[in-house]
Symmetry: C2
């Protein structure tokens, strides 16, 4: 919702109306646009809150490092004063270590992340599961260690009103970031736990190529497992390291309306978060990048 009195008279006001939605308003649903903080990482938290308010963006997905730096309580106050909903906290996880000490440290860090999520007022903590330990080639074993860790973390999170959201990452990240590569695998893990404790993230960037993903979205919807819906476009050539290859909506190969409609048909009524890691976007004025992202959302998703 638009909270800045200045913006209500500014040139953005007409644009704002497209994205402003009172929480719980009937027209909300997946049309509710949320900006993931990392998309416009050049903005400080106060700048982000100000830009969201003036552009009528009602939701933000936050990241742990900038939240820790600004302070959890200060962040909570900032977003509350700006009228923003925190749609997720990114990201915890990395639960595949086999070494006992590394494993304990990871669990401790995940509990801290749960506390931070609760502290900034979101019910969704995004988990990137982790890759293979050095020299390890056993994807199956790594996935089982994630399940073991979830069994410890999920009740802890639930007690604090936070749901763990397993995010399958694109198979190109299977060795170094996330051994959970498909929505099907993520659901296989999540369904070992109560739906209110463990859900999944549907991110178009990671699943767009998968002909089984639409049916898995249906499965996730039926089980009440869709904890977050994120968007980024698929663009080639990929840059070295591939992490920063995510494209602005409309620049790549993904049919966002297809995925948006499928997620909505599966019963998802939460926010739609745009999460892009892209050097060119980061090099631009942050407010301008946010305005463009909102505009692309309107053009390619709604």
């Amino acid at each position: 919702m638009t909270v800045s009195s200045e913006s209500s008279e500014s040139s953005e006001s007409s644009e704002s109306s497209e994205f402003s939605d009172s929480p719980g308003s009937p027209g909300g649903g997946t049309a509710r646009f949320s900006i993931n903080q990392e998309t416009v990482r050049q903005l400080s938290l106060p700048e982000l809150a100000e830009a969201c308010a003036s552009l009528g963006v009602g939701g933000v997905g936050l990241w742990r490092a900038p939240v820790q730096k600004y302070g959890v309580e200060a962040t909570a106050r900032l977003v509350r004063d700006a009228g923003l909903t925190v749609t997720s906290l990114c990201r915890s996880g990395f639960l595949t270590a086999a070494d006992p000490a590394a494993r304990r440290a990871a669990l401790d860090d995940n509990r801290a992340a749960v506390d931070e999520a609760a502290g900034v007022g979101t019910d969704t903590l995004v988990l990137v599961s982790g890759g293979l330990p050095d020299g390890d080639r056993d994807l199956y074993g790594a996935r089982e260690r994630i399940a073991d860790a979830l069994a410890e973390l999920a009740p802890y999170a639930a007690e604090r009103g936070v749901r763990l959201a397993i995010e399958p990452l694109h198979p190109m990240f299977a060795s170094d970031r996330c051994v959970v590569s498909t929505l099907g695998q993520a659901l296989d893990l999540a369904e070992r736990f109560p739906a209110e404790q463990v859900g999944v993230v549907v991110d178009t960037y990671h699943i767009w190529w998968d002909d089984r993903a639409p049916a898995q979205i249906d499965r996730a919807g039926e089980g009440g497992r869709i904890a977050a819906f994120q968007l980024a476009d698929w663009c080639t050539p990929l840059p070295a390291g591939v992490l920063l290859g995510r494209g602005q909506l409309g620049d790549g190969s993904i049919d966002f309306r297809f995925w948006h409609d499928r997620v909505a048909a599966a019963g998802y009524t939460g926010w739609t978060e745009v999460e892009i890691f892209n050097e060119a976007l980061w090099d631009r004025d942050g407010r301008e990048a946010l305005a463009e992202t909102a505009e692309r959302f309107r053009a390619h998703v709604l």
Copy 2:
């Protein structure tokens, strides 16, 4: 088989015995090592034939461009004289064009590739299906156009003793090279045609992350659809453009024995081709790179 009289007395002779296998010999099976030409692209065809003979490598997978340059008949003579089996010809395909003229050109080119495969004496033509046309976001439509093209090409190939081998490529190539991203998708396409006309390629690099791939190998084996088995390792960080990121066996995350055993258990008795695209490997002496690859095969696969 070792055909060079020199090599039978050389230091490579003990190594050679590990890789030499008369076609049809009882001990052959998947232990039969074949070098894909692109792995050691720094070698000319005569240099490759000589290196294979002296190292006791009995199989080669060839590529169209160098074969065309050297001449199809001359290539056939060269490999025959060196006692080499041509385990596949790479690669044809790119069958996703929607434009009628581009489509006709692709079909013509594929028929030429079939002729070349028959000319060099292999029964296996590897197909990389093609990516999305510019501005197109419809993966499903693109896959159907591949099926339409196969219906034209498969009988033509079969008449010439050549089987089309659909190679699923890693999902990171879905937009720009190959909309067929999993073994399951490749089999869905192949099974629309007789098994002797259309098979699939099992390449560890493309499928290693996929928890469904083992069962799909079984399915392929039951249907007599495994036309080729190829190896490369998965290494990170991926280079820009990702095409040349394939690693030498043992340098990455793939458990080759698992896949080798699974393919053998599915009834595959053909050659195992090592196909690596890697600048560092290309920068080295070609014969040395080939010897190392054979050594890695022995250490990590058999």
